[in-house]
Amino acid sequence: MSSPKRPLPLAVRITALVGIAILAVFLVFGWLIERTIDQHFMEQDSAVLKEAAAVVEDILFQHWPAEDIDMLQRKLDRALPGRLGVICKLSKPSSEVIYASPEFRGRGSPGDLEVLTVITADNLRMWRDGQNLYRGIRLKLSAPEAAPSSYYLVTLALEISAHRKFMKSYRHTLWASTLLAALVGICGVWVGVGRGLAPLRRVSNRIRGVSSDRLHVRLELDAAPIELVELAASFNDMMQRVETSYQRLSNFAADIAHELRTPVTNLMTQTQVALSKGRGVEEYREVLYSGLEEFERISKMIDDMLLLARTESGLGRLSLEKVSLRQEVQDLLDYFEAWAEAQGVSLTLKGRCRKVRGDRMMLRRAVSNLLSNAIRHTPEGGTVSVSLCDTPGFAVVSVANPGPGIPPEHLSRVFDRFYRVDDSRCRTDEGAGLGLAIVKSIVEAHGGCIAANSEQNHTQFVMKMPGK
């Protein structure tokens, strides 16, 4: 059994998404702050270096071209340390060093620094020297009126490990606080989602209460959050359908048991009575005949119930052809004619209607049940009239008969299974009360509809079938 992979729980999904969002926001924020601080340090450094460069330039140009190296060194010594940790190295193009701060002594400045002419925050370079980290620049200084070949190279640098340290601890703090904030956020979201999904849990608890004896459960649409209203509404619709079908089925099952109880009781009783003492051949024969009648009744009921079950499973099981309803009615009238005449009832047929597509045997059966009902309930001397007509899209067959009529309280229920209008539940030549239920299920299986209406002295059944 390979089942499809279960998607992550909603709470986990939402929490993860929100958590990622929170983390991302914090990280971007932290990175921006870091960039800003870094930028600020660089601006600051370049300002300091600019100032230092100006000082160096002043000192150089006062004594241009520098002859007195000693004096130059002294002046620089005096001027520079005051400029917050700027170190400096002055050399001629011939690499002869004129001046070097203590940090540069005995060591060369990084040799790969390109020579620039202006200082901006962006063209500062960084290099490491042992423990120290420097940010600096190499400039070409030449007096305005000097020859192009006559210039000095000055390397200026600031020790910035303090900045680095600060940045490092800042970054630690940033990470820690980001993580902490994300954790707090995620916990908050987790709790929030949990609370947010509570209505869903309530709904599912209510649904869990559904069982075959508690099909009346419905979800309260007003109490549901707007997102769940649609779900709740479709659930309620489904439950309505399930309950109706279930109700009908269980009623049907009860009715079947009830209907079968009578003939089976009769059979058992009469057989036991017959066996209770010796009897003549004629008597035994009577018992068998009477049993046969009961069996036929049961058999007929079984047939009808199977037919109902079959038609209710829909059109897929029917064999469809083009059917002329007029022809079917005509054949049925021929069939019933003798019987109707014996009861003093006459039959008439008028009108025409379009052909329908359906199962001929089934349709014939439906019309037959309507006709036999009508004939049976017509008083002597009355006329059962069948009329056919077309309405847009439908062929209409109506069967009308005079007679006592069906009381209004029964009218809506005449199509129910096992429903009989007279409560005496007499079982003369009437069936088990499935006749009209069969008509209804056949008509509906064909996509048609049937209605009954009855007045004081006139009853009419109208069957509408979708036309070809």
Binding site: L288, Y289, L292, E293, F295, E296, I298, S299, K300, I302, D303, L306, R310, R317, L318, S319, D331, L332, D334, Y335, F336, A338, W339, A342, D359, M361, R364, R365, S368, N369, S372, I375, R376, D429, E430, G431, G435
Partner: protein, 228 residues
């Protein structure tokens, strides 16, 4: 006439054997598909009555294997399943007829005789007669003794059915389907009324009643008046 009954339900099998034997047939029985096939292949039968739902080899497959082996014995299916597709499958698979349980024994008997009659030459001639009743099929007229009987079209068809199958009990369902093409029980006594009318026209005023009611089974036309 020799029949084979293939049915796994013991009670049903025994009663079919008894009933068919008493109706004048020689009956062999088998309780499952494999035995049924073996019997059908080794002996000559005029008709096989078989249940579709058999424990080992179901009716469809049994029938198919018989036809494959070139055995053309007519087959009548019995089934508890009643659906259009089953019915269609039953007739398409080469079964000759099909009966849904619960069925009346008289119905089964009528159908068995119907299938067996198919193999015979059609009844020749336009004249059918039983005792002093004669039917002219082409003119659709009937006489009893020396008097004409006035019959409607359906009445004549009904009488012709009785005469052609004289001596056989015809269940109401068979009459309804043969004469009116109504293949269902209409829970009315339409057939009784029709037969009663025909009987008035055919038998009234005659000592010998040709059309007889067989209680619990149906109707029969016979010159001998032997009620069971």
């Amino acid at each position: 006439m020799k029949l084979l009954v293939v049915e796994d339900e013991a009670k049903t099998r025994e009663y079919l054997r008894k009933g068919l034997t008493e109706a004048g047939f020689v009956v062999d029985t088998a309780a499952n598909g494999l035995d049924g096939r073996h019997l059908a292949m080794t002996e000559q039968f005029d008709l096989i009555v078989m249940d579709i739902m058999l424990p080992d080899l179901d009716g469809w497959r049994l029938l198919a294997s018989l036809r494959e082996a070139g055995n053309a014995t007519p087959v009548l299916f019995l089934t508890a399943r009643d659906s259009v597709s089953d019915r269609v499958q039953g007739l398409e698979s080469g079964a000759d007829d099909y009966l849904v349980k619960p069925f009346a024994f008289s119905e089964l008997l009528a159908r068995v005789r119907n299938i067996l009659r198919r193999g015979l030459a059609p009844l020749s001639g336009n004249q059918l007669s039983v005792g002093d009743l004669t039917l002219d099929v082409s003119r659709r007229s009937a006489r009893r003794g020396d008097a004409d009987i006035q019959l409607t079209t359906k009445e004549f068809t009904l009488l012709e059915l009785f005469v052609r199958r004289q001596g056989e009990v015809l269940p109401r369902s068979l009459i309804a389907s043969q004469v009116w093409d109504m293949n269902f029980d209409s829970d009315t006594n339409v057939i009784d009324v029709a037969v009663r009318r025909l009987r008035m026209k055919v038998d009234d005023g005659h000592d010998i009643k040709l059309i007889q009611t067989v209680r619990g089974m149906g109707y029969r036309l016979d010159v001998r008046n032997e009620l069971p």
